[in-house]
Amino acid sequence: MKAWTAFRNSRAPGVVLLALLLVTWQLSATYWFKSPTWPTVTRIFEAWFENIADGTIPGHLIATLWRQMLGYGLAVVIGIMLGLVMGYYRLLYNLFEPLVEVLRPIPGPAYLPILVLFVGIGHEMKVTLIFLASLFPILLNTYSGVRSIDRVQFDTARTLGLSTLQTFRELVIPAASPQILTGMRISLAISLILAILGEMIVSNDGLGYFVLLSQRTFKVPDMYAGIFTLALLGYVLNRLFLIIESRLIRWHTESSGRT
């Protein structure tokens, strides 16, 4: 009974389900559903290790990460800076907010045709695409975070004689940081999606390119190995982000009772 409660409250059920699914996959591919499109799990891992050993997957991974981080990094810097001043200065908010509301609903991939016309089909196009799609969640969360800062906190800063710059440093940025980080986390996932999309449409490197190329050349295990790498990449990035986030805003998570 006690062991059952411990099991129920742990991460074990999810891990067991994952293992069961992999075993089912393996059995189904070995005995019931033999097809080149459905390789066994072991075959996929073989392909994965081969592609890692000969440097194919690491090379594509670095290409993907590089353009993702470039576009995402730009979105973080510009989104936060613009969001901070938009949230703080009412005029800038009233000036830019309608524009943001018009541009925001455009799905990231829809920028692609325009970008091809203006930026071409190279590296810059993919980085710009990632940047545009990642910008809005960060921008929006930043200015709404700043705007929801309580009047009492601004009055406190004024009675303590803080200048505008000091108010940003001591109050605005830390107070808005939980929401800024939420926007950054949403955009992190978006940036990976757009990186892969860009690579699938037109590219000669990156994991998106590798997955699509493997499929087109009937290297099905390689294709699955590429997708597995993407799953791993997404997972690791999100984990890393959560670790950094919990360090940065421990006061917030602990005071709001979230763990």
Partner: protein
């Protein structure tokens, strides 16, 4: 007693509905005085205090500090807010919160500054908690941090906006006595807004009662009870009870009048 704060013909109208929160408010605060401002809710007592602090603008009248009109927050006059959970920044430790008021204004070395801030924490009984975060402290302790932060700037005047009204009865008693001690030890001038008649009478030398909206001064009476005051004795003295009844009658009359005014 020399006057330090002079409030002259103060009026505040809200632009949204054009009604006055209060009008014709004039009084002066002597140096070292402890004044309580009370009144029914909506009489604008909190707005009045914000204007005195330079955090808000009046629509008419002036506030002057040592005959100099107030145009913005002044370092010799510190404000203590009711909402300590907000005015104390939750991302800073207790010590960093206290330091925030002095780090950009004092020429002292960081070591001296820290020593100064720790002294203020000792004054409010938080000497053992400099590295705690606000969420690890009780409400009463958080408001003590706010008081220590105000004191760190060495103000002459404290403006306090219902500082203890969010605390439970035990904490309130404790902080009232702490405040009285700080007032007499440090020679502060205090203007204290409250909606609690008993609190006003217990701590202040003078109680100003505002009438219902639009607020005007209905009563401005001295409280001739000796200091140090004692929670039980002071509150059972005949003079205390007489003043309490007198003020309570007036307050009820204000509330009734306020109701009759509503169309």
């Amino acid at each position: 007693m020399t006057d330090t704060l002079q409030i002259d013909g103060l009026e505040k109208r809200f632009t949204s509905h054009g009604r006055a929160a209060f009008r014709d408010i004039s009084f002066s605060v002597g140096q070292g005085e402890f004044i309580a401002l009370i009144g029914p809710s909506g009489c604008g007592k909190s707005t009045l205090l914000h204007i005195m602090a330079g955090l808000s603008e009046p629509t008419a009248g002036t506030v002057s500090l040592n005959s100099e009109p107030i145009a913005g927050p002044r370092s010799e006059m510190m404000f203590v807010f009711q909402q300590y959970t907000k005015s104390i920044f939750p991302w800073k430790t207790v010590l960093d919160n206290v330091r925030l008021g002095v780090k950009y204004h004092s020429g002292a070395s960081s070591h001296e500054m820290e020593k100064h801030c720790l002294e203020q924490l000792n004054l409010v009984g938080l000497g053992r908690y400099p590295n705690y975060y606000p969420y690890q402290l009780s409400g009463g302790m958080q408001q003590r941090v706010a008081i220590a932060r105000a004191l760190a700037r060495r103000p002459k005047i404290l403006l306090m906006d219902e500082p203890f009204s969010a605390l439970d009865a035990m904490m309130r008693v404790e902080l009232q006595d702490l405040l009285l001690k700080l007032w007499s030890d440090l020679g502060l001038t205090i203007v204290f807004v409250t909606h609690d008649l008993d609190e006003a009478l217990y701590i202040a030398q003078r109680v100003i009662l505002l009438s219902a909206s639009p607020g005007t001064i209905a009563q401005n009476i001295a409280v001739p009870l000796p200091y140090p005051r004692r929670q039980i004795q002071t509150r059972s003295e005949p003079e205390y009870l007489r003043l309490r009844e007198h003020l309570f009658r007036n307050m009820v009359a204000q509330v009734m009048a306020g109701r009759a005014d509503v169309p």
